[in-house]
Symmetry: C2
Subunit: 226 residues, 2 copies
DNA sequence: GCGGCATGTATTGTATACAAAATGCACAGG
DNA sequence: CCTGTGCATTTTGTATACAATACATGCCGC
């Protein structure tokens, strides 16, 4: 899109994702325009995009606020993402090309390096991880799927949570990526679909565990009952 | 949304869905503004929405054209819709309330009447059918699902095709709705999900049969091989 | 003191004017 | 005849001004 509205979109989005604009905070067009150094026109375009992605909510009179997410809504988003990104993985496996597979292997290497260090490089991990998932979407070759997933992958709370990932979670995620690569190399769509579904669902439970609302039966390791 | 941009959205959308603006036709903002009786500002909002719904496509220099749909892309959209509306049906069944169920029964009655006449009232059928599916989305109680489905349900070619439905297709569709109601009444999510998936997939094949690109093994009734 | 209404203020919606960018055409050069 | 460059025109992007609407404050009646 155009330059100014793109910048406005990025700025506002980052303000929300970083938490600088707290959930429920009101968004006034003029204030944002000043902050972004542009006029209200591109701001309005940016707000429309952000509303479509559910990062902001509007009252019936069109006033904008940073969206507030209940655990239920986050669970919803994860559930949808698990299903849809699962489909993307299946399609990707069926349509995988050597070129994309090679790129994914390079991503995997990058992730491996980011995770290997004692103090894991979370930013590098997130970048490579994003690229990895983007390549899957590319291989799936469905603009529609891409558009839908784009609104599901960047969830503000999750984004913030990822920075608190422990080395353990990061390494597990890396292992699951390795399995995905195997499924892609074999062009086994259903395998890829199941791995991806499990991958996303595990991420959700990691999130839920870290954020109060435990819905699990038991959070401690299993032990003898007597 | 606001009045003028809403009207502009509806007008342009109808022009596309009705085929008055053919696939590939260029869309100039000023011309649309004149046609809609508003200025370019609301037109631009409308175009952004329509682009998000993939009804229009843009060149790298932001020029807009009515989207062209290949059979593959239509198949994609149907496949995604089958999966996602299936999920919506499952959730709806699990969360069904007597109020919504009653409304759905009224829709079903309306559909029944539209279909019963000798010359089926296709417009009445389409309206009631839309309402029926909208109620399912409402019962599913997921804004995210609703948003995603909104971009999938109204496909221009399908919309035009529906007007050529024969009484036979309409009655079959009505029967499937009856089954859905049974699944909802029993709160059987998986049943509802499977019926919905089959419902959408059947609709796709009806479309594909009517539009050249046959991908089926056989379109004639089965016969002895000798 | 409390509820409802009216007025002022804040905020969003639309129109218009202008700036930037791109496309098509014409023309010159090879 | 083809190609590339430069200009004219068209088209989109942004800013600003103005209109419409919603919200909040305070006042009046009860």
């Amino acid at each position: 899109m155009s330059k100014a509205s793109d910048r406005a979109y990025s700025v506002i989005r980052d303000l929300i994702l970083s938490g600088e604009l707290a959930a429920g905070a009101p968004l006034r067009e003029e204030a944002l325009a000043e902050k972004c150094g542009v006029s209200r026109t591109p701001i309005r375009e940016a707000l429309n995009r952000l509303e479509a992605e559910l990062l902001i909510q509007r009252t019936e009179s069109q006033r904008s606020f940073v969206a507030e997410w209940s655990l239920d809504e986050v669970a919803d988003a994860f559930e949808l993402r698990a299903v849809i990104e699962g489909i993307a993985a299946r399609r990707a496996a069926e349509r995988m090309t050597p070129e994309i597979l090679q790129k994914m292997r390079r991503c995997d290497t990058a992730i491996s390096e980011a995770v290997a260090r004692d103090t894991a490089d979370v930013d590098a991990y997130l970048d490579a991880n994003r690229e990895f998932h983007a390549l899957i979407v590319e291989a799936a070759a469905s603009p529609r799927l891409a558009g839908i997933l784009a609104t599901l992958v960047e969830q503000p709370i999750v984004w913030r949570t990822a920075h608190h990932y422990g080395a353990e979670e990061l390494r597990r995620s890396h292992r699951e990526h390795g399995e995905l690569l195997a499924a892609f190399a074999r062009r086994d769509g259903l395998w890829a679909q199941d791995i991806m579904g499990a991958h996303i669902r595990r991420a959700f439970h990691a999130y839920a565990d870290a954020h109060g609302g435990l819905s699990a039966i038991d959070t401690a390791p299993a032990r003898r009952s007597s």
